[in-house]
Point group: C2
């Protein structure tokens, strides 16, 4: 396929990028008890004015994980983010103009670190609660639904939920995170005991300030502790 044709057809095709393959990212955040997703409103091309997942092309000499990290950095300014591949989505007519296969990624970001940084492809960027997700372009609703299912699985098998919380958090905040993502109600005393028994959390010997009730202890998740435990055969299962 001729490059110029593609260049005209595609919305922001870059000359040093691979043809027919893109990356789309589901970026999750957690704010005020709600799971949210970062969407972009397309500024040009056939999807102008419509919301979709942030994404882009893969450079010819760039690994796909590297491409996903780059796209995330370009969009959010954030480095060292939790990011994992979901899978490839390859319906023959998922993209209306020509055949494109996209590789889905999902990222978990701490909202406290996030500063919006709209890229050249997006006129507008916004966080949407899961229940307020609009109709998205192409198959992006499918990718999003799949990523939520995947997140629900992963969060029970690996301690990745901490990537959505501030560095310091209370046990109840952590519980609310699990409740929101898994869509269940949990028992506070039981949750406390269960998570504390895992010995994954570092007790910071600090307390909340400025809350109008008894201040809770603050904890942080320590990757090192987790790595030490898993080496000894520990298996996070929630």
């Amino acid at each position: 396929m001729d490059k110029e044709i593609i260049k005209n057809r595609a919305e922001t095709f870059e000359a040093d990028a691979m043809e027919s393959i893109t990356i789309d990212c589901v970026i999750f955040g957690f704010q005020e008890g709600s799971l949210e997703v970062l969407l972009v409103k397309h500024a040009e091309g056939i999807s102008k004015g419509k919301w979709g997942l942030p994404g882009g092309w893969i450079k010819k000499k760039e690994g796909i994980d590297a491409a996903a990290y780059r796209l995330l950095r370009e969009l959010t300014g954030l480095d060292e983010i939790f990011l994992e591949q979901l899978k490839a989505f390859g319906d023959p007519d998922r993209f209306p103009l020509y055949r494109v296969i996209t590789i889905g990624y999902y990222a978990l970001v701490k909202r406290e670190n996030y500063r919006i940084k709209a890229g050249f492809t997006a006129s507008e960027v916004g966080w949407f609660k899961m229940k307020d997700i609009p109709k998205l372009i192409y198959d992006h609703n499918e990718i999003l639904n799949y990523s939520l299912g995947h997140l629900r699985n992963r969060i029970r098998q690996a301690p990745i939920g901490f990537n959505l919380l501030p560095e310091k958090f209370t046990l109840l905040e952590l519980m609310h995170l699990y409740e929101e993502i898994l869509g269940v109600e949990m028992d506070k005393p039981n949750f406390r005991r269960k998570i504390l028994k895992m010995k994954l959390l570092r007790d910071l010997n600090e307390k909340q300030v400025g809350v109008s009730h008894r201040a809770a202890k603050l904890y942080s998740f320590d990757e090192e502790i987790y790595n030490r435990l898993t080496k000894r055969g520990f298996n996070f299962e929630f």
Copy 2:
């Protein structure tokens, strides 16, 4: 990129296929207590004489799952096989001649159904026990290792192991399957009770014949029972 160049470069490039994207399949079988993988020995091209995962190109108007099913059918003659996508593998230099991203799939087949059917790309096809896997072409060892980890997870969360067993099996055969894949030893009485309590198995009121010990009851896995249970909120967890 010019088609003719690709045609010469690639080993079996087909004119109506997508460029720069392939599919590779990890096909698992279970025979005499061992987990095995189907490998092909390449007949032509730069990998001539080396073993690798079976794979191929995606047609321009074909979904990626459909492409994986077609490749499997071409290779094994089997239809209606358990097949799921793993993920995409996209290291920039995973393939030595030019940039190709591959989408990994894994399949579970009943060895009793399988009849070898070497395709045009393979001079030789063979089953290899996991501990006898040779050095494979490109990043195929990585794909294989990843798929084993994935299988270990999936088999504990969904009743997919049955796809590796004959239609009728004994409880001990099922237990040996789990032991082999998960790499653990299990307690026979406890395994029996656990699996029977799930009520997923259909008691066939048949027994083994021609065994030199007390004949065991035969069971089969019934997809319908499973679907009925999951609709009511049942969750397979092993």
